[in-house]
């Protein structure tokens, strides 16, 4: 179960909406942070805390692509390859990342350092190609730039 601090946090969130179900998405983010990913246990905790049906919780969680359902590496690279980024070569960058850091899209590197996902547009098309590493934005990407950026993430 969540610790008291987390329960308090969720309680505060609940108070901002007329119905407790609205606290679901925010609570899933919290659970994701607490458990690393949305394991069955994490989902059960959320269901219990919000008194929502377990299946509903899982159903909602599985709909949104930013929730993680498998354990992740220490850092998450989210590279956009949607049209604007693609027009500026992001698909090649994807291959580059895969090769250089030995991590397939949708997978995690063997050393557990990086997980890598291909994103849809992240709203940085004006400075494409762009990616998010954890919650940090990087744009105007190039191969050298990526190597330099990812250096910072151990």
């Amino acid at each position: 179960m969540f610790n008291d601090t987390v329960l308090k946090e969720i309680d505060d969130i609940r108070a901002r909406y007329p119905e407790r179900r609205s606290a679901l998405l925010p609570s899933l983010y919290i659970a994701q942070k607490e458990f690393g990913h949305l394991s069955s246990e994490a989902l059960l905790c959320v269901a219990k805390t919000l008194n929502l049906p377990e299946a509903d919780v899982r159903g909602a969680a599985s709909f949104y692509s930013m929730y993680r359902h498998k354990p992740l590496g220490r850092h998450l690279i989210q590279l956009c390859t949607n049209v604007s980024c693609m027009l500026l070569g992001s698909e090649k960058l994807a291959d580059f990342i895969s090769e250089k850091f030995r991590v397939e899209p949708g997978g995690t590197s063997a050393d557990g350092r990086f997980s890598f996902v291909i994103m849809e547009c992240i709203g940085a098309c004006g400075t494409a190609p762009a990616m998010l590493v954890d919650t940090d934005f990087y744009d105007n990407l190039s191969e050298e730039g990526i190597v330099e950026i990812l250096e910072k993430y151990k």
């Binding site: 007329p18 119905e19 692509s65 547009c121 709203g123 098309c125 400075t127």
Partner: protein
Amino acid sequence: MEKILLKNTDTGNSADINEYVKAGGYRGLSKALGLQPGDIVDEVKKSGLRGRGGAGFPTGMKWSFAIADPKSPKYLVCNADEGEPGTFKDRPILEKNPHLLIEGMVISAYALGSERGYIYLRGEYPRAKEILDRAIDEAREKNFLGDNITGKGIKFDLTVYQGAGAYICGEETTLLESLEGKRGLPRNRPPFPVNTGAWGKPTIVNNVETLSNVPSIIERGGEAYSKIGSKFCPGPKLFSVSGRVEKPGVYELPMGTSLRDIIYAHAGGIKGGKKLKAVFPGGVSTPLLTADSIDCAMDFVSMPKAGSMLGSGAVIVMDESVCMVRVAYRTLKFFEHESCGKCVPCREGTEWLRKILERVEGGRGRNGDIELLSDVAENISGKTFCPLGDAAAGVVAGMLKNFRNEFEEHIKNA
């Protein structure tokens, strides 16, 4: 044109409330709170403001529907889901001018008689979340939000709700489902959100940019505002320009600026002096325009006449070096990934289209693929639950109409 939406945003510290107030911020609010709510609605109607989220619905009219509904409470929801590929115009407001949005929301809430507002922010904008949260705290501290706004006994509070990665949640009824903590499937309409929105109550959903126009409408008056830009569709507009141009970025220009000017006069023309091939003028959900049809005024009224739509005003520019089959494939991959799965034509059709396109693009095209693509797109178009499916079919139809030869090439060389 004097900047209204992105005013002062290059100071580096523009998100700070003191900076904002120093530059004249929250003056619109002070003025508004001296007016009757009905007067505000009238000003907005007079201004001719149309929703900037894509559909261009007259904002004042939308508000009056919600006001006319006897149910209470009423909710004001800001659509900050900005998910349309190529669109990044709300982001500078959210990150650099958050108080403009907050001010707009407080005024709108006062007009609507709403005491509770939410900003549905896409999960992909974690920085904007931090900035907005801070700005809301600041505004609360300064009594621009809370139980007694500027000492006038008016109540309104705001919460940022983070989406979690679903393009469809930008569609307003889906957004409300998501706000209620559910899977993001669009709702049946009617009832419309203005009557039965969030938690069954009358709800206004407006785009970030739409709401951010409100302070200046009140400040300068609807009449004066309506003089900016196109006659039937006035106001400033943020255009996101991306792709193969020299100077991609967000441009605040008068509504009705021509597409050619946007590309050539403002965004510096095509990258490396290459030739323009095609443009999505308002995001990938709007019909493709070819190089010879960009002399159109970018506003909600003129674009349909030019065979496309203004959409979110996201201009994605493709030059002669771009393979349209590849663009089609990538776009359909996007739609397939983002289809919510509720309706059959979109759920199954986008998958089918993507699979064919993937083959054709990968050099495994077959005879008959083009006819099949066109037929499948036809079977989707107009039959889906929400516009997402239509948009997906539209991309394929547009590509086949304008660049059929590229598809034929691919198949011939397979």
